[in-house]
């Protein structure tokens, strides 16, 4: 496990040292706060806009962080860094697991910071924090578990640009195909159903998203990530490395 943590640590060190990450988080929180100025333009819907925008930004930040790391892994393989690490006594799945935990941790930190910033801004602005908004943000943060697995899947198999494009397209499709929902093993089993994490309207309209649902969706995210990780490791094991 120490090897996995060592790989994960080198991954998160890379991202957390990037100034642009904090700039991204700062901009997101400022943008959330700016919705207060939209009182008139939204006909007093600015609180709802704040919740919705925050959820959108949290999701986008999670995706962007995963994409940044999806760029990183193929580059490391192309430039030979991965080969150096894999020449040490660690299995390929351990290397991938380390990368996954690194990506996941960074994404959780980034999305968590934005969600915390939202809570702070909302509390200061409205002196209240509806539970549904917090629950919606929990879903948006937990969503990075399967997104990181998707990013890792493509990053382990494709080149940088292709991996980033395929990750973004898959996340897009996974949010946009509720018509596939009637085929649960395919959609939710083989294909990701990220729409499960999309309760933005409910969070905005203060519709309670109950605890069991949050747990169930988190459990789905973990189970799906395990399945996709196993598939990634299977294919990656057969792959020739530079």
């Amino acid at each position: 496990m120490d090897e996995v943590l060592a790989i994960a640590q080198s991954t998160w060190q890379r991202i957390l040292k990037m100034f642009v990450v904090y700039l991204l988080v700062g901009c997101a929180i400022i943008e959330i706060g700016i919705t207060l100025l939209y009182d008139t333009l939204t006909m007093h819907h600015h609180r709802m806009l704040m919740v919705d925008l925050s959820l959108v930004l949290t999701t986008m930040a999670g995706l962007l962080t995963v994409l940044a790391l999806a760029f990183d892994l193929p580059r490391e393989m192309r430039e030979g860094g991965a080969a150096t690490l894999l020449s040490k006594p660690i299995g390929r799945y351990q290397y991938l697991l380390g990368k996954y935990f690194g990506i996941l941790l960074v994404s959780l930190v980034v999305t968590g910071m934005i969600a915390t910033g939202f809570c702070l801004v909302h509390w200061l602005s409205f002196k209240s924090l509806p539970p549904s908004a917090i629950q919606g943000h929990i879903l948006a943060v937990v969503q990075v578990i399967p997104i990181a697995a998707i990013g890792l899947f493509f990053a382990a198999l494709l080149s940088e640009a292709a991996a980033a494009i395929m990750t973004a397209v898959t996340v897009w499709i996974a949010h946009s195909t509720p018509m596939l929902a009637k085929y649960p093993i395919v959609y939710g089993g083989l294909l990701p159903d990220l729409n499960l994490f999309n309760m933005r309207a409910e969070a905005t309209y203060n519709v309670a998203i109950n605890g069991p649902y949050l747990l169930m969706v988190a459990a789905w995210g973990i189970a799906y990530s395990v399945a996709l990780f196993a598939l990634t490791a299977l294919i990656f094991n057969q792959r020739d490395l530079k």
Binding site: E3, S10, Q13, G80, A83, T84, S87, K88, P89
Partner: protein, 310 residues
């Protein structure tokens, strides 16, 4: 097999190209090679011969299409055995955001170097490659040669029984080359086997106990350098005053060149020609010497021959 550091048996590799189709030319063709423990083995071959492919197969970075490979008596896919192996990749490029110290710490952690020994091992490796002063600088600021030195340092962290170095001399300045040769000698004295490939044949000849020459995926020869570089033909030294004789001999000679004092050195390798030369009577001042083949010569002869066959 246990007395060998590396053994390959009918090792072949055919890469796949676009649309998962096999490329027509195999990178390795039934490579059978054995490298005893404790020797310095030079793996030679022109560009694209399959040297790096062989090394990657040994490190389990690529999967052979057929055949087997063993490293230190264990199958090449055995993860645990890599704890006793140091590997320097071709054209190394490490995580640029890490400092040299952080990178070596990561490597030491992955190599399962005990926590209390990590720092001393890293410092000693950095001293070996003369990079102690740059330990806290990020790798992205390093030149090609400095990266190469750090790459060499990371191979030494676990005091390996086998060092696999892919083009270790590339990018190194003359000091670096000298240092590396010293490191190789020290590792050999420690009892480690060093398997490396290089294009700098003079260095290989100086360092290696054994060599293998690979050409287009096929092993042309392999064995102790003393056996491979045996007596081959005759050299005739003709003084400057015997220019007409020199010109006559030049017509049959495989190689000829003029020394600074105007004398001629002519090389004959064919047995029939050597026999004729030995039977002939020579004017005073002409010297006949048995000719010893150099590694470079051997390399060019074999590869040229192979090209001709092809």
């Amino acid at each position: 097999m246990d007395d060998h550091a590396i053994v390959t048996e009918e090792l072949s590799k055919q890469y796949r190209g676009a649309l998962w189709r096999l490329r027509p030319e195999a990178a390795l063709k039934s490579l059978s090679l054995s490298v005893p423990r404790g020797v310095v083995f030079g793996f030679l071959g022109p560009n694209g011969a399959g040297k790096t492919t062989t090394i990657r197969c040994l490190m389990d970075l690529i999967r052979p299409s057929s055949g087997n490979a063993w490293v230190l008596g264990a199958p090449s896919g055995d993860v645990a055995i890599r704890q006793r192996v140091g590997y320097l990749p071709d054209n190394p490029m490490f995580s640029p955001h890490l400092t040299a110290m952080q990178f070596l710490k990561l490597c030491a952690r992955l190599l399962k170097v005990p926590g209390d020994q990590r720092r001393s091992r890293i410092e000693s490796a950095l001293k070996e490659v003369d990079m102690m002063e740059s330990a806290s600088r990020p790798l992205r600021e390093f030149s090609r040669g400095m990266i190469q030195r750090i790459g060499i340092a990371q191979t030494l962290l676990n005091e390996p029984d086998l060092l696999i170095l892919d083009e270790p001399l590339v990018g190194l300045d003359p000091h670096g080359r000298k240092d590396l040769l010293e490191i190789v000698r020290r590792q050999k004295q420690r009892g480690a086997c060093i398997f490396f490939c290089s294009h700098i044949l003079s260095d290989v000849e100086k360092l290696c106990d054994q060599v293998g020459i690979l050409f287009k995926g096929r092993l042309l020869c392999s064995g102790p350098l003393t056996e491979l570089l045996g007596a081959k033909g005759m050299n005739v030294l003709v003084p400057a005053k015997e220019e007409s004789l020199a010109r006559e001999l030049m017509l049959d000679a495989e190689d000829s060149h003029r020394e600074a004092d105007g004398s001629w050195q002519l090389s004959f390798t064919s047995e029939s020609k050597v026999k004729r030369l030995q039977e002939r009577s020579w004017p005073e001042g002409v010297l006949l010497q048995p000719r010893r083949e150099g590694l470079e010569e051997l390399f060019f002869r074999l590869t040229k021959q192979e090209k001709g066959d092809g």
